[in-house]
């Protein structure tokens, strides 16, 4: 019986099925909010208020012709989308969606999650590289270059929360915050959100797939089911990153009256709306501006946050 319960938790709620529904829902929320910020209407006719639009896109792409160009590295080209979906799925299973983690929780799983995010960037790189298209290659190289810039401030901003709470277990961090960390570490939160935009390749930092410069970046040669999987992986990554931000900075599922899972999803939606607001507010940076900006401003800010964390900790004890 216990096994059945665990399997239901992993595969249905709050596991893979629930995460997939959240992924499609978040893409819709993101597109609709983005359209409203631009004074447009956004998806309207696919289901009520266009809520089925991401599902329509997914099914349509699954039903299209699957082309493998002649000069690509077939093995990597065909398998990269599968890994791209598997990695965020696996990472999301460590989110404390309903107060306890879906799969398991151990000391140090934050490090594992950040490593998995790094691994996704490597998948992006080899997917672009295996396409052997010049636009894909440029996009892949840009993805790696961008990754050198945003990953470090992101890690340090997560580390300063871990230092404050005194644990590297995501569930423990999200459950043991006296007040939500966004109030105690606002600089860290801002750094995390900016790095998250870069991680998700969203607009100020959509340099690896800049459509006005390099067609579609590393995605250029992908079509049909493979593109459907890659787009789905992006949505899952949005779920995962907003979940990570929620668990680390917004105290996870804790809140009055409503059950933890509702609070967790509401806070994730707040992060998604924040992300689409940033997306509609800015234009794209050049790659050199992005890298030097991250090294000049984001890393010093995140280190400042790490130092301030210690002061806040000592100060609170003194009070």
């Amino acid at each position: 019986m216990d096994n059945v319960f665990t399997l239901i938790r992993i595969f249905i709620f709050p596991g893979l099925l629930f995460l997939s529904i959240l992924a499609f829902l978040f893409e819709w929320i993101d597109r609709k909010a983005y359209a409203r910020f631009q004074n447009r209407i956004g998806p309207l006719y696919a289901g009520p208020s266009g809520i089925l639009q991401p599902i329509a896109d997914f099914i349509k792409l699954m039903g299209k012709e699957d082309i493998t160009p002649r000069y690509v590295d077939t093995l990597i080209f065909n398998n990269a989308p599968i890994f791209a979906v598997a990695i965020p799925f696996f990472a999301s299973l460590y989110l404390p969606l309903d107060g306890s983690p879906i799969l398991s929780s151990f000391e140090g799983d934050v490090v594992l999650l950040l490593t998995l995010m790094t691994l996704y960037t490597i998948i992006v790189f080899i997917a672009g590289w295996a396409s052997t298209n010049r636009f894909s290659t440029v996009g892949a190289a840009r993805a790696i270059l961008q990754f050198l810039a945003y990953e470090i401030p992101m890690f340090i901003s997560v580390a300063s929360v871990a230092v404050y709470v005194g644990s590297t277990s995501l569930t423990y961090i999200s459950m043991n915050q006296p007040v939500p960390m966004i109030l105690l570490q606002p600089i860290g939160f801002i750094v995390f959100i900016i790095s998250m935009q870069a991680e998700l390749e969203r607009i100020p930092f959509d340099i690896p797939e800049a459509e006005s410069e390099i067609v579609a970046g590393w995605l250029t040669e992908y079509c049909g089911p493979k593109l459907a999987f890659l787009r789905f992986a992006e949505d899952l990554r949005l779920v995962f990153c907003s979940g990570l931000a929620t668990a680390i900075f917004l105290a996870g599922g804790s809140g009055p009256i409503l059950p933890p899972v509702v609070w967790f999803v509401l806070k994730m939606i707040f992060i998604v709306l924040l992300s689409s607001y940033i997306r509609s507010l800015f234009a794209r940076f050049r790659i050199d501006q992005m890298v030097s900006g991250c090294w000049r401003y984001l890393i010093p800010l995140s280190i400042l946050q790490l130092i301030l964390t210690r002061f806040v900790e000592v100060g609170l004890r003194w009070l």
Binding site: R40, I55, E65
Partner: protein
């Protein structure tokens, strides 16, 4: 099952847009159709950069001899099922450039065309109407 697939195709036609030597009037009007005032994302229409991602190819301008093989290659790079909309008088027949030494004529000389939109230049409403009629055609099978 095929009905779900048909529904999804109707609800998300992604557009690739190509200029084969137009005078840029049609291009501006087609881009105006994609801009916030007409907001074609209501119908699930997105503008895509890569032919591998697109379902509908919108072509403007008479086909010159130089661009003809490229138009054909772009069409062949698109995955099935794919549709072509010829936007503007030049794209449908060659327009004022008909009979020029370097002009082949309309784009149906090179690739099969699903929908013709006349007009010099086309109105953005006409382009949206063409996509809506394409969707209606898909619906009826």
């Amino acid at each position: 099952m095929p009905s779900i697939l048909a529904w999804s195709r109707i609800r998300s036609p992604w557009i690739l847009y190509m200029c084969t030597g137009a005078c840029n009037a049609c291009d501006i009007e087609v881009l105006a159709a994609l801009a916030p005032k007409y907001d074609v994302e209501r119908f699930g229409i997105l503008l895509k950069g890569s032919p591998r991602h697109a379902d509908v190819l919108i072509v403007t301008g008479a086909v010159s001899r130089q661009v003809a093989p490229r138009l054909k290659r772009i069409y062949e790079q698109m995955p099935d099922p794919k549709f072509v909309i010829a936007a503007g008088t030049c794209a449908t027949s060659g327009g004022v450039y008909w009979g020029c030494y370097n002009v082949l004529g309309g784009i149906d000389k090179v690739i099969p065309v699903t929908m013709y939109v006349p007009g010099c230049p086309v109105r953005p409403e006409a382009v949206i109407d063409a996509v809506a009629k394409l969707i209606a055609k898909l619906k009826s099978g």
